[in-house]
Amino acid sequence: MVGSAKAWCAILLLAGAIFSGTAPAAVDGAAAAAPAIENHRCLRCHADQEEKHVVRPDGTQHNIFIDAQKLEHSVHGKVACVGCHRDVTKLPHAKPLAGAIGCIECHKQEAEKLKRDPDPQKRERLDVVLRQTDSYLHSVHARPNPKNQAAVNAACHDCHDAHDIGKPGTLQRKEHRLKNPEVCGRCHEKQKNDYLGSLHGKLITEKQDEKSAVCADCHTTHAISSPKDDPAKLAITQNCGNCHENARKTYFASYHGQVHRLGYTNTAKCFDCHGGHDIKDAKDPTSRVHADNRLENCKNCHKNATASFLEFQPHGDPDNREKYPWLWSAKRFMQALIVGVMAFFWLHVLLWLFRELMDRFQGKGFNEDLDRPDTVFYRRFTPAWRWIHFLFAISTMALILTGTTLLFSHTGWAKAVVVFLGGTQMEGIIHRTAAVIWLAIFLVHLAIAIINIWRKRKTFEWFGGTSLLPNWKDLRDLRDMFKWFFGLAPRPQFCHWTYWQKFDYWAPFWGAAVIGSSGIMLFAPEKTAAFLPGWVFNVATLVHAEEALLAAIFLNSVHFFNVHFRPERFPMSTTIFTGAIPIEEFKHDHRMEYERLLASGELDKYLVKRPSRRFDLVASFVTSVLIIAGLTLLTLVLIGLSTAK
């Protein structure tokens, strides 16, 4: 046993000797003190046109040829061969070179060296390289190969021929670009074959048109991820758009594109309709977007899509009058409407503000005596109207918020809101629920109004002071208001409803008609398409959005001013929630109605006590919240409008 212990010692010593003998050599590396081997020495064998191949001892033949000219003109032209192939310390080298070269390591070191280089172009180019390497390291290509965990799916040299990397703008670059499908196709063979049959592929192979899309244009060069993942799908759309700019613009203007741009891919994307690798011209009968095949694309999502779907223009451009006259007209009309309405009312607001401020400076106008607040109030709204307005306001705001996230899907806030709400599907549910409530209230209000009129049918004056129907006096009032604005006449006296209140009232009728009908169409596209042509979706999408915009801007600016922000009312009027208006204020704004009621002795019927302090606080709170919400929405909408491209 002693002997065997000795034997083990001997074995250990021997092993130790072998280990200590070999390890340091491996760690130190021979590169440190190795003399540089000039490139022309390497090229003596590797650039030999007549002997491009070597046969290794295992009998396999390998191409060792390097085009010396290409190398010289490549970005690595001045780099020593042995700078990358560091395992070569002697020539000729008997062993084949290691496949993996430390590209990333070297580029990092170069970047470190050039950090303070005075030439900004150099730094910029290296930044590109660094960004690309970083993208690569996070890409699917840099992950371990499932079949061989020791290797990655694709290493630098699998795609790049380091000896032929052209400087930007050179012929080498062009050649590399034209070779892209072939390079990717070494692994992705099926995709390559599909691609080569495609429009893109043919332009590359037959026309050498480097402007045609190659793999990397859609899939990116380095940040390659699985095309099944959202980031890849989103990137592909962006990348298609890099060439097909107008298609991307019109796509993003469509419902499909809006959802997609918010970061969601459960909607039709470029390749869902056009195909991915096998994209063909629409005239090609095998093309997925050929007229005969296109419905199949729709049916992938809209299972019951009808032939009318074919008339839908996924890339309908409202600015293209020739191709899309309906859409063009709709846009012009809606824009004229928005501009007209807003221009008029904003002017109205400004002049009004100016007049009241002027009056105020001159000690004129309506001023509440804060020492003796009103104790007598006029009851202007019954609880039913107050509830209706409240719910109407809430649902309108919900609709604006959820709708504009799509409309302004390019903004950061839209993306944040949609995430906050739980995604585009959730948002759709909220939008449609709010729409149903909105419409229901509208109808309920109509019913109540009709009932009310019916009850008073004997005495109801259709164009009288209490009617909301516009009349000639409204026009006169409007004229007189403008006179007053300019100090040419006293402020006109109003009946129960002022003309701006009537506008506020009737505007939703128009809105309900436009937004409601277009909304319903978009809500149920398959049913709509059963009896309407597909292009109505283009028009519906456009007018729905434009009208909503008009409402959002008008309500949150003009309406807010008229009711809350004009100096007489500032900071707010809570009447719509308390139902009561101070009698002095009533007298000021609705003098003729007050006098009529006074004369007819009906006034007492409407006089109420001042709302309790608590009720007043609640009303103020609710009003404040809604105002703040409204102003926020206005801000978001204006951000969206001003950043839209």
């Binding site: 002997g3 001997a10 190795a34 003399p35 002697k90 020539l91 080298h93 008997a94």
Partner: protein
């Protein structure tokens, strides 16, 4: 017990030596023409001790399989197995390279150095034993042998598979061949 363990330890420790011993009787037969340890003392015959293993292996196999003409060696190596050839190459590669610097006239050396710089340097180095060269060593190799070998490369009568060597040798001017051979022959360590 003790004996077995000792012999086991001996076997372990001397395993490489024994394996080498195995080829030594055969390797010794080479000494007759190439000198002990492959250090030739005769100008027409090359020193082979310390030449790169891959080179030795390659030429012997090329001779054996009729891919390369040799005057004498092709007949000899045909009697060796591939394993024996590998072991012989390994054995001689393991021997120290002993250059035999041969004096030559200054003018010849200068001419030879220029020719070597133009033609030979990239693969063989300027000293014939540059640290970054793994080609067969030329420093202190016998100039007469080198010249004869170059003549083989330059002639059409011989199968010389090293295309680049052939081209390089043929590109040389006739009197540069001898000068370059003498230049390398004159180099020492």
């Amino acid at each position: 017990m003790r004996h077995t363990i000792l012999s086991l330890a001996l076997a372990l420790l001397s395993a490489p030596t024994l394996a080498a011993l195995d080829i030594e009787p055969l390797a010794r037969t080479c000494n007759g023409c190439h000198g002990v340890g492959g250090v030739s003392v005769a100008a027409p015959i090359p020193s082979i001790g310390g030449l790169p293993k891959a080179y030795l292996k390659r030429v012997m196999k090329q001779w054996k399989y009729g891919e390369r003409t040799s005057i004498t060696m092709d007949r000899i190596v045909k009697g060796f197995s591939d394993d024996q050839i590998d072991a012989l190459a390994e054995y001689f590669a393991r021997q120290p390279w002993v250059p035999t610097p041969q004096p030559a006239a200054e003018a010849v050396l200068a001419k030879g150095k220029a020719a070597a710089g133009d033609t030979c340097r990239d693969c063989h180095g300027l000293t014939g034993n540059d640290p970054d060269v793994d080609a067969p060593l030329l420093n202190g190799q016998w100039a007469q042998y080198l010249e004869l070998e170059l003549m083989k490369y330059r002639s059409n009568e011989f199968k010389m598979p090293h295309r680049k060597m052939k081209k390089a040798a043929r590109d040389m001017k006739p009197d540069d061949v001898s000068a370059a051979a003498r230049y390398y022959g004159a180099q020492g360590k």
